[in-house]
Structure formats: C-alpha cells, structure tokens
Symmetry: C2
Subunit: 158 residues, 2 copies
C-alpha cells in the first residue's frame, strides 16, 4: 500500500488526536468530508491504522518512574522461555518485553511509583518469575521524550 501526502497528513493528525471528528480531520487534511472518510476507512481496513486507544497520564496515576531491566534466564530451553514470557506478561508493572540478542535474554520496561515501589516489584515479583537467573536494573532519571507517532517511511510514499 502506497501513501500520498494526504494520507500522511491524516495519519499524523490521528496519531496525535485519535478522536478527531471526520469533518475536523477533513478540514485539517484539506479534503472533503466524504473523501476523508473513505481514506480513513481504507487506512483502517488495510491495517495501517491498527487501533485507537486512550493514553492515561503516568503522572496522574502516580507511576512516575521507568526502570529498564535486563533479564537473564537459567537457560534458553524453549520451555524456559515460554514459561518466563507467560509469567512476565501477567505482571501489570511490566509495560513491554523484548526477546534480545546479546548478553541478556530479555529487556523489559517496568513502570513504578518510586524507588521503594521498584524495590518491592524487583524482590517480590520479578526475581520470582520462572527461570530468572539474573536481573540488571537501569533506572531512568527523566524521560526526554516519547513518541506515539510513527513516521511514514519513504519507500511507502507515493
């Protein structure tokens, strides 16, 4: 699927304002409402737009601290990996989990209230996950920025 400038404009707007009305969106994209509506539907059914979500405020929910944790397991047996992955997904403080190349097996992003809270999560939850041999925690001091907006790569442009 190729995307032209208008598609990009639509995607850019919706990535920032997911609940724009179609008429507002049409105006911002410089399109008639019907044309805009058709394009959005196409973008949705083609899978370019995956879904719409509400983003909650980490601050307002008292989850100010992000910690990255490198996880090394006892071994790389298939069952060990599956057991860990299943268990870690059930931990609500873990926002993201990647299987990694290199030293550690997994990298996870953990969201907690403060350092105290992390101590609890680390000791009572993470270190008890199946197969975990070692945890290396890296504290973030400050989030410089975070994008939800994904750039449209050149090779998809019209």
């Amino acid at each position: 699927m190729r995307l032209d400038d208008v598609d990009v404009a639509i995607l850019t707007e919706l990535q920032e304002h997911g609940r724009l009305t179609n008429s507002e969106l049409a105006e911002r994209a410089g399109l008639s409402a019907s044309a805009c509506h058709r394009r959005v539907k196409t973008l949705e059914t083609s899978g370019v737009i995956d879904r719409y979500v509400a983003i909650l405020s980490e601050k307002a929910l008292g989850r100010g601290i992000t910690v990255y944790v490198q996880v090394t397991l006892d071994n790389q047996k298939r069952e060990t990996l599956v057991a860990f992955e299943t268990a870690v997904e059930a931990v609500p403080e873990v926002m993201e989990c990647y299987l990694m190349s290199g030293d550690a097996d997994y990298l996870i992003r953990v969201l907690v209230r403060d350092a105290n809270d992390y101590e609890h999560v680390h000791r009572e939850i993470l270190s008890g996950l199946p197969g975990v041999a070692r945890l290396v925690s890296s504290f973030t001091i400050r989030r410089v920025f975070s994008r939800t907006t994904m750039p449209v790569p050149e090779e998809l442009r019209v």
Copy 2:
C-alpha cells in the same frame, strides 16, 4: 483523585478501544449513557486520560525492527546534554529517549525496517549527533508483548 471500579472499567475499555461511542462504553461499564458521559469528561479534565491516539501498525509501515541504543556522551555538561536531547528528538526513527543513571547517559529506542536500515541510521545519523562518544546497540529479536494499558494503582482505588 480517587477511582472506583466503574472508573477503572471505563479506563480499561478506553485504553483498548479509544473510539468507543459513549453509549457503547456506558453499556460495557454498566452505566447509563449520561452518567458515563459525565465520568469520562471528569477523567479527561482531571488529566487521568491524557489524550486519544491512533496506533499505526509497525508491520504495515515496514518498521519491524526495534533496537535499543545506550548512548554515552563526551561529558555531562549542561550544554552537551541539551544539544544532544534537542538533536535526538528530531530523528524520527528514535521513538523514545531516557536520561539514565548508571553507565550510559541515555537509552533510546529506535525503530527501523531491517538491519541494513539500522546500519544506515547508526552510521549516518546517530553517531553524528552532537556530543556522542559511544553507542552500544542491542537488537531485539522479537517483541514478546507491549501494553498501552496502564494499571490503576491500589492507592488510587476508592
């Protein structure tokens, strides 16, 4: 601001389906439409709901590979940090940037099409950012999961 079970139900739904109609949401939350509408407005104005966004498909956009990069700068002078932060935010492939404690100064998450593409980003863009002394790249093999849904902490429950 305290949140009761119904608020949590609303937040959970909206974090997964950000464009639910108010009437649909009301039904799922077990509320009348007007009561539901009032609660959502309150959650929005109080800042618990930060914003609504469309999530694009990384796959459909051909951005399959996530790379984490630990960035070490020449020094920690204020100007050095500011210059780097300003420049890195202008790189669209960088989705997130944290100032870190510990060995490296920054941790960034980079989204690219493939390893080739990363090679280009690494050599032509990242290593040219102001103040960069060392880059340590960690490739992800697979995203195990990623949440946009944030749990409501116990201490905020009614």
